[in-house]
């Protein structure tokens, strides 16, 4: 019995040490690399990213996974559009030009302020989409931003919402597409690091389509009548990061700020 207790004590002590992170490098990196159950694999044991889209019991695509966007859209969400295809209103264009002329010195994220939509989807830090079985809700967790709840229970978007950084999100299925509508933003978020502006009138629609196990398409519609003359769309292509989990990325007070001089 005594040995048994001692063994348990040792297990407890070792667990505590692990929890405290006092462990060698490869393990300290949390679950940076860890085989995720349910991942289809090739003969070499590696994740088969072109395996068919996994399905929920009801036949809908299972969107669960750790996903990451493409760099160029984080820098410029309109990277694939011609300049005149972004329908900026004159005042919005002026503001955008001012931000560009100043090399995005006033980017809110440089002050550790939150990432708003759609930047939190396009930034090249991963997000984890979780489809909660049996619940009419999905959750997105972010490596570098606050989590987000997407209500799938049929509720409408709030009519006169209190402005917020992250907005309010509802989702629905259109065939195999997951369509998320969000409003209630505070107008302080930038669409990208270049500084495409937003207002409180911003309404973002995201249409996710899981093409196969490792790939999805994401069509983002920006509808902000105060900043843009009409709704406009961009297409992203997030990829799955297999066999990994989110890490911690807390934005500490940005020490570079005093050195950001702009142009």
């Amino acid at each position: 019995m005594r040995n048994f207790r001692f063994r348990n004590l040792m297990i407890g002590a070792v667990s505590t040490v692990i929890l405290l992170g006092v462990i060698p490098n490869p393990v300290r990196a949390q679950w940076l690399k860890y085989p995720v159950k349910g991942t289809p694999r090739g003969p070499d044991g590696k994740a088969d990213l072109t395996a068919p889209t996994p399905r929920r019991p009801d036949g809908k695509p299972d969107m669960t996974g750790v996903w990451m966007g493409v760099t160029k859209y984080m820098i410029n969400i309109a990277a694939d559009l011609k300049e005149d295809e972004v329908p900026l209103r004159p005042a919005a264009l002026e503001e955008y030009k001012r931000r560009r002329a100043n090399e995005s010195k006033d980017d809110p994220s440089a002050r550790c302020l939150p990432l708003s939509l759609p930047l939190k989807q396009t930034i090249t830090s991963p997000f984890k989409l979780i489809d909660i079985p049996g619940k009419e809700e999905m959750v997105m967790l972010y490596e570098g931003a606050r989590h987000r709840e997407i209500f799938m229970d049929g509720r409408p978007l709030p009519k006169d919402p209190e402005p917020s950084w992250y907005g309010y999100s509802i989702g629905k299925w259109e065939g195999d597409d997951l369509v998320i509508d969000s409003n209630g933003f505070n107008g302080q978020g930038w669409l990208d690091i270049n500084g495409h502006p937003t207002s409180e009138a911003l309404h973002v629609t995201e249409r996710y389509h899981r093409i196969d196990f490792g790939h999805m398409s994401l069509e983002i519609t920006i509808d902000d009548p105060k900043m843009y003359t009409k709704p406009w769309k961009v297409k992203e292509s997030p990829r799955l990061l297999p066999d990994t989990e989110l890490l911690e990325a807390v934005c500490e007070n940005n020490q570079d700020l005093e050195h950001m001089v702009g142009k």
Binding site: I75, N76, E103, S109, C112, G144, N194, N254
Partner: protein, 131 residues
Amino acid sequence: MKSLIVVSGIMLAAAAHLSAHHSFAAEFDASKRVTLKGTVTRVDWRNPHIYVYLNVKDASGAVTEWACEGGPPNVLMREGWTRDSVKEGDQVTIDGALAKDGSKRCNSRSVNLADGRRVFAGSSEDSAGKQ
């Protein structure tokens, strides 16, 4: 160590995917390059960007401390680095871009150890040019 060497092999391809937390150009001048050879005094492994501090000796023997920015820890970890990849006392060569405000700071495009291994890729400059 083995994984570090493997990772350094794919570093160039990976660098294009690394994230910029904030505008590179507001802080650094891509046209003003600098190569610094010196001794690491400290690695500040923190968000949103790590910093490598190094003492650089000039021809007259005078020592100046420089601070060079790298990528965010989570991005670097995904590329295989840890806070111990570069340690105090290591001899390093950093290629980077100078700070616009004239301070002894740079944005490191590459950090090479004395044995040639390249570590801590992930400069915000890599993605900053893509407007």
